[in-house]
């Protein structure tokens, strides 16, 4: 280099300075235009389309054997598997296996259920639970914890659902349980989540739904 690069360039007459300023500004303007022209479609493209969020809505038949076991069960929840056909996951389509927890209630429990779970019956707090819960004496709970979507399990010793991730406990009717001092056991923000359940032509069916995690209200975010 023939001159000190940090030294100001040779001063020019005003017309020359104006010409140079124009070129500098035009360069910046063009650069900005091109960058924006690329950035807008790029960023827009990364936003998922609603059609993808709402894919996969639909009913699936429960395993008949396990549903029969639920009919016979009077004191314990029963894990019931089902296969959801043609689940769309982006560009992949597959048959996915899921399970739910079925509760078979007697008349006494049905009454308790209504009392203890106002969050599922009170129109003000039902959120996206726009379906009937406790149909025909059965409640079907999603198998994912409303806290951070871990899979909880039934603990025979505790006589409660216990989530292994953060220790939340729920009663058989899905009520978030409390310690003797009145504080909740574990960090779950709400009781267990119900999924739509019905019987159709003698087959028990569920609609798999996933709710937004870790909030007190219920908002459906996906069907897979």
């Amino acid at each position: 280099m023939s001159e000190d690069p940090t030294a100001p360039q040779a001063p020019k007459d005003p017309e020359e300075m104006g010409r140079r300023r124009f070129m500098a500004q035009a360069t910046v303007a063009i650069g900005g235009f091109v960058s924006l022209g690329l950035a807008i479609p790029l960023v827009t493209a990364l936003v998922p389309r609603p059609e993808l969020l709402n894919a996969n809505k639909g009913w699936s038949p429960l395993s008949p054997d396990e549903f029969n076991a639920l009919k016979a069960s009077i004191d314990k929840p029963v894990k019931i598997h089902f296969t959801k056909k043609n689940v769309v996951d982006g560009y992949l389509v597959s048959d996915n296996d899921y399970y739910v927890w079925g509760i078979h209630m007697n008349a006494d429990e049905e009454r308790q259920f209504r009392e203890q779970r106002p969050d599922l019956f009170d129109p003000a707090s039902r959120g996206d639970v726009s379906f009937d819960v406790g149909v025909l004496g059965f409640v079907v709970f999603s198998s994912v914890c409303p806290h951070l979507q871990c899979k909880f399990d039934w603990d025979d010793g505790l006589k409660a659902f216990l989530c292994p991730c953060h220790g939340s406990q729920f009663s058989k009717l899905g009520v978030h349980m409390k310690k003797p001092d009145g504080s909740y056991i574990g960090p779950a923000p709400r009781g267990l989540d119900p999924v739509p359940f019905r019987t159709q032509d003698g087959m028990a069916e569920v609609e798999w739904v996933k709710y937004f995690a870790n909030v007190p209200y219920r908002m459906i975010v996906s069907y897979s």
Partner: protein, 484 residues
């Protein structure tokens, strides 16, 4: 503020130093090609990174994820087309840059190493073009790459090893996709960016070569803002052209790669047309090897070592008639070969159009049913999927059929004619010799009644009646039920 940053980082003076560059003889539009190439490279990297958000390299997801980008990503088709046209633009700009340096004699002492790095970058650009071409995993990607790898396999001594390395095994398959993906998105770009840095470093060391003359120019211009302004004008023009092409001529996606697909005529990327031309013109035997391997190999070597082959010390164009003559002749030969190939490929594809109807991009039929995740639950079975599972093994992925055994469904009057006829054939099967479009077929069509549901039969018939250029009315489940 600037002083504050400068004091702590030195970035301001570094930027100033980068922008302050004497240009012997003043700024010129002749010098823009290198900068524009660099800007296009940046654009390729940006759009390429975007595509990796969705693309999945395996033989079962490559085409599917590419199609997903077309159909379910906002601006997805635009981004793919931008990347594709951007690749073409980069090849053009790199070539113009190389030609400018060649004609201006700028590769001569002391810029020999600069030239070698530049030619290497040119080869890397071609590697990117070749490896990127396979990734969509459509029919053309598959067969064009097959041809390319097989040519590499004829290289003496190490040919089989090269082919085995490119394939990652003996055949073009899922491992090949992974390998090409790695080469295309990681290895070559990483090396390329490093070499571009080296290229620029050496450039700054020697300074710009200036006009094609042996005397030192009396005047000097500045890189900033004069040259950079000219650079951005041309880069902007290139950007507008690429965007225009991406919008109005979006890159087509052909049906998925199918190793059993007979009669498909692949075409390489246009910048390999000249190589393809010598391959076609060369007689069989040893000469094929000369045409496909020896000639391009010697050409590459001469290009790479040009500063030591061309001993003429002068840079003035008038004093280098031999070099100018060879350059002109080379350009004419390459353009001529490319035009010959373009014509030949075009003629062959017109004569045998099997598999050439895109499923997305330029030329795609809007009527082609596409599996929409949102609609799939309500819309019933996906005809394209039913076809792929049950029918494509005989009738071909693009309905091209198999000569003598299974008739083509594309352009078949029995398919596009009366709905009752085609429902009968699919539901009840067909045996014995038949004649379609003047050709005889002997294969047996099984009865699909009972193996497929009525809804699936309706969906697949609708699919074959509206795909590959067929434009007949859809068929409903009720029609299939009513037929029995």
């Amino acid at each position: 503020m600037l002083a504050w940053i400068e004091q702590r980082t030195g970035l301001v003076s570094a930027l100033k130093a980068a922008l302050t560059e004497d240009i012997p003889g003043g700024a010129s539009y002749w010098y823009v090609f290198g900068s524009v190439t660099l800007i296009l490279l940046t654009m390729q990297i940006v759009t390429g990174i975007f595509l990796t958000f969705y693309y999945a390299p395996s033989s079962v997801t490559a085409w599917e994820s590419t199609r997903f980008i077309y159909e379910h990503v906002t601006f997805g088709q635009f981004m793919i087309s931008l990347h594709d046209w951007g690749a073409s633009a980069m090849i053009i700009l790199v070539t113009l840059h190389l030609l400018q340096v060649l004609v201006f004699g700028a590769y001569k002492r002391p810029r020999e190493i600069q030239w070698v790095v530049g030619v290497t970058l040119f080869f890397f650009t071609l590697i990117l073009g070749f490896t990127g071409y396979l990734l969509p995993w459509d029919l053309n990607a598959y067969y064009a790459t097959q041809v390319g790898i097989n040519i590499a396999a004829t290289v003496p001594v190490i040919g089989p090893q090269i082919a085995s390395f490119l394939n990652d095994g003996s055949t073009l398959g899922t491992l090949t996709v992974g390998r090409f993906f790695g080469i295309h998105v990681w290895m070559t770009p990483a090396l390329l960016v490093g070499l571009v840095g080296l290229h620029l470093f050496i450039f700054r060391h020697n300074g710009p070569a200036g006009p094609a003359q042996d005397e030192k120019p009396k005047t000097v211009g500045y890189f900033y803002p004069e040259q950079i302004f000219m650079d951005s004008i041309i880069a902007f023009t290139a950007f507008l052209v690429i965007v225009g092409l991406a919008i109005f001529m979006p890159t087509p996606l052909l049906p998925k790669a199918d190793p059993n697909f007979g009669g498909f005529i692949p075409a390489p990327a246009w910048y390999f047309y000249s190589l393809y031309g010598i391959l076609r013109l060369a007689p069989a035997g040893v000469l094929t090897l000369v045409a496909t391997v020896v000639l391009p190999g010697v050409f590459s070597l001469v290009l790479l070592l040009l500063p030591w082959i061309d001993r003429n010390p002068s840079r003035a164009i008038a004093k280098r008639p031999f070099m100018m003559g060879v350059t002109a002749l080379t350009i004419i030969t390459i353009v001529g070969l490319s035009m010959y190939s373009a014509k030949a490929i075009d003629a062959e594809r017109k004569a045998s159009p099997a598999g050439l109807t895109p499923v997305a991009g330029l030329g795609a039929m809007p009527a082609t049913p596409s599996p929409s995740p949102g609609a799939s639950a309500a819309a019933g079975p996906d005809g394209s999927a039913v076809y792929g599972t049950n029918c494509a093994s005989c009738h071909g992925a693009s309905g091209q059929g198999l000569a003598g055994a299974f008739p083509a469904l594309a352009g078949n009057p029995a398919v596009t004619g009366d709905a009752g006829g085609v429902i009968g054939i699919v539901a009840n099967g067909l045996h014995g010799q038949i004649k379609v479009n003047g050709q005889t077929f002997n294969g047996a069509m099984p009865s699909w009644h009972g193996k497929l549901t009525d809804a699936q039969i309706a969906a697949v018939i609708t699919y074959i009646r509206t795909s590959w250029g067929n434009k007949a009315s859809p068929v409903t489940e009720a029609q299939v039920k009513g037929h029995k």
